[in-house]
């Protein structure tokens, strides 16, 4: 059963474009029909379809690689709220680096490496910088003039702190941990991934 009327053709184009997961070029749309309506006809129908959809929440647009239905930007806020995917998690390396910078600032990358016992990959610092949570506040006047890293105001804002002094105090916990470690785990083996290369 091949369509006869332009209306039917337009309906088929509409369905194909609504279901497509990528832009569809005119050439590809033509292939849907057993009797090729020709590029000219397809283009005219697409244009009619575009006009038909005007004023709705979704618009038919012509992109570099073909035609596609797309939501209008003004509906973006609603679509954002629909998203409910779980936020991703930072790796242990990122969290520990952040903790060191927060508690020991200003620190150099070398300091972080000394404390963690492993090299700090550039990606770790980049993740924290692009988040706006750390930045370079100076250089230590030692050979190489390494950058001194510190946390930003934004970091405090995002964590709901007024100052670094509001970071959780750790001394009590550390003492408890020391006790636990001394009595129960005399020689904690370092985690495999943290071992020196």
């Amino acid at each position: 059963m091949e369509p006869k009327t332009p209306d039917e053709c337009r309906r088929i184009l509409e369905v194909a474009l609504l279901a497509a997961s990528e832009p569809l070029a005119v050439g590809r749309l033509r292939r849907m029909f057993e009797v090729d309506p020709g590029a000219e006809t397809i283009r005219r129908l697409l244009d009619e379809l575009r006009i038909e959809w005007e004023g709705r929440g979704v618009e038919l647009v012509q992109l570099a690689s073909g035609w596609r239905f797309r939501t209008r930007p003004e509906f973006q806020p609603y679509l954002e709220r629909l998203k409910e995917e779980r936020p991703p998690k930072y790796s242990r390396a990122v969290l520990e680096t952040l903790a060191i910078i927060a508690y020991r600032q200003p620190v150099t990358r070398g300091d972080i490496e000394d404390i963690r016992g492993v090299a700090v990959s550039p990606g770790v610092l980049r993740a924290l910088e692009s988040r706006g949570w750390i930045d370079v506040v100076g250089h230590r006047e030692t050979p190489g003039r390494p950058e001194l890293l510190a946390t930003t105001r934004r970091f405090l804002d995002d964590l709901g702190l007024r100052s670094l002094a509001e970071l959780p105090a750790l001394t009590e916990l550390e003492r408890i941990m020391d006790l636990v470690d001394d009595q129960e785990i005399p020689q904690p083996a370092p985690p495999a991934d943290e071992a020196h290369g």
């Binding site: 279901a19 997961s21 939501t71 969290l95 600032q105 404390i115």
Partner: protein, 277 residues
């Protein structure tokens, strides 16, 4: 061929569903004399999903009542198939042999007088279990056909998925104070033997001031020494700021300069290269 079942094909729903295909042609009934073209045997046997399927086929294509299966002819025919398989050296699935044994056992039990379970009760029919299994399987076989006939998304229908304008804001990982605390505790635990990496709460505020001072001096600014201290912080705050300045000087991160005696003190980032002249 005393033992063969009546071979008149009966169109049942089950049969229509259980179409074996031979060279693309639907095979609704097997040749009456069980002759099967040699190279077709394998194809045909693959069309059966197992012994139950084969038995159902034999039963359904004849007009016998499944609730009253004539065991002898059915068994004979089943065994004929199995024998054919064996003669063709087809790897004979254990399932087929197991079924053959079961059929023979039922058949022999049919020959014996049925034990009365109770005085009034119907005698147990040795075929009951087989019939139950056959019906059970046939029901699922039909259900499979029906499920297959239902429209499937991706096969008979497509989901609509219109492109979303603009990039959705990327979700960034959340970090809680708890996460930070845990991360730090892990570090401390590992570094515990070195002892010098302990941190105290009061030290932290010094470090915060250190960062703050460095920020103000960023870009090479010269800041008057007294402007490094905010009187609004109170005495404790000023003391902490002072400790921060001392720490920064000690670590040679900032320099305090004075052009002459009693002239104002200035603080700036230590920079051996640019400000050397």
């Amino acid at each position: 061929m005393n033992d063969t079942l009546e071979l008149a094909p009966v169109e049942t729903a089950a049969q229509a569903a259980a179409v074996a295909r031979l060279y693309g042609e639907p095979m609704r009934d097997l040749p009456a004399d069980l002759y099967i073209p040699p190279d077709a045997l394998e194809v045909m046997l693959e069309a059966f999903e197992g012994p139950l399927d084969l038995l159902l086929y034999l039963i359904r294509r004849s007009s016998v009542d499944i609730l009253d299966i004539p065991m002898a002819p059915l068994t004979a025919q089943y065994l004929a198939y199995v024998e054919l398989m064996r003669s063709r050296n087809l790897e004979l699935a254990a399932d087929y042999l197991l079924m053959a044994a079961m059929l023979l056992e039922i058949k022999s039990r049919m020959l014996l007088p049925r034990p009365q379970r109770e005085a009034d009760a119907e005698p147990a029919d040795p075929r009951a279990e087989l019939v139950r299994r056959l019906l059970d399987y046939e029901q699922m076989k039909l259900a499979a056909v029906r499920i297959d006939a239902m429209p499937h998304a991706g096969r008979d229908q497509e989901w609509v998925g219109v492109m979303v304008a603009g990039r959705l804001v990327e979700r960034l990982p959340d970090v809680s104070l708890h996460d930070l605390q845990l991360a730090w505790l892990k570090i401390v635990r590992r570094a515990r033997l070195q002892r010098h990496h302990t941190v105290r709460r009061d030290e932290l505020s010094v470090r915060e001031h250190m960062s703050g001072i460095l920020r103000r001096l960023a870009g090479g600014a010269h800041v008057a020494f007294e402007q490094l201290f905010d009187p609004r912080l109170g005495l404790a705050g000023v003391v902490v700021s002072f400790l921060a300045v001392l720490e920064l000087v000690k670590e040679r991160i900032i320099e305090i300069t004075q052009s002459e005696a009693f002239a104002p003190l200035y603080a700036r980032l230590a920079d051996g290269t640019e400000d050397a002249g």
